[in-house]
Symmetry: C2
């Protein structure tokens, strides 16, 4: 059997989604065509729409359809604080805590020399320009606590401290609700070193 | 942070793909927008294209862009044999064996009363019309050997035999390369009952 061109194209295009292999791509294509053509159209339009409209915020670098995103335009935000996160999803998690009222900078990634991701790919120049605008007094590094996230935080920290900025990092320690028996030794060691007077 | 409309739409549309949850959908959306906008465009166009062009073959019911697919139009095929499969992927597997030169009928599914999939959803009327065209002398049932596939085969078999057609089923038994120690008892029992003179 020769597959029809459009079907083959669709399978190949679906394979380019992260985490989708040839079998899943084929299954997705058959599912959409057989059971949910409406979803296929919706996804098609959503993709073209997003590619067409979504750009990076001129200030915080997150995805937005306008020049400067709503968060950055918000007059009630504390403009002295700048929180650096890896992804928009991380930013959303911090927003949900309701503990932070400053502004953000979204790196859209992390340093990862092995994958060829260097300072340019995490928009370091844009971050430096943003952080040294004269208003920002403290940069809070909230990259992940993975090896790559820590390395990224370290690199950014050195770069910004050299420019006279105050740089902080989210506290490390035992998670809320954590039982010591089940927390890894590295975390407990860190919590011991960073112990605080009560 | 409020997500931009296009981004939210894209995440929601990606969630409608089979096997994609909210976290994967978001990851896919970020990945496409940050690292592979070209793939996003390609997928968008491929989806709209496929929805627009792909229909069911008038003869064998598979996906095709033309009225009657290339396999059905092939003059070298044995028109007396009709092989019934669940999906185009199954058809492809059979084609790869190079042991079958007849034509096909693709059910695009299997009977599954629990999921509300009845005879209409597997195009049974179309199959009956196709099988009773006067040329077909034998229908080979090649649905899966799962409970649902077996039930589907049984149902189709009864329906077609009542119309005087010869109906056969792919042989069951120990797979090629199979070691008895690791083959399930049901398969060995079947192979014993269906044993053949050598």
């Amino acid at each position: 059997m020769k597959k029809s061109g459009s079907l083959e194209n669709l399978s190949e295009a679906l394979r380019r989604l992260p985490g989708v292999g040839p079998k899943s791509a084929q299954r997705m294509a058959y599912h959409l065509l057989q059971h949910d053509r409406e979803a296929a159209s919706a996804l098609g339009h959503a993709l073209l729409n997003a590619v067409d409209r979504i750009q990076h915020c001129a200030a915080c670098n997150t995805f937005t359809e306008i020049d400067v995103c709503e968060t950055c335009q918000n007059q009630e935000r504390d403009t002295h604080l700048l929180c650096v996160v890896e992804t928009p999803a991380d930013q959303m998690m911090i927003e949900q805590t309701l503990t932070y009222k400053g502004l953000y900078f979204v790196l859209m990634g992390r340093l990862s020399p092995l994958d060829g991701i260097g300072p340019k790919d995490i928009y370091l120049d844009k971050l430096i320009t943003r952080a040294t605008n004269g208003t920002v007094t403290e940069v809070v590094l909230a990259t992940n606590f993975t090896n790559e996230g820590e390395a990224t935080a370290h690199y950014i920290s050195e770069t910004l401290k050299a420019r006279g900025l105050k740089v902080s990092r989210l506290a490390r320690g035992v998670p809320v609700g954590g039982e010591l028996e089940y927390v890894d030794a590295g975390t407990i060691a860190r919590a011991m070193l960073d112990r605080r007077a009560t």
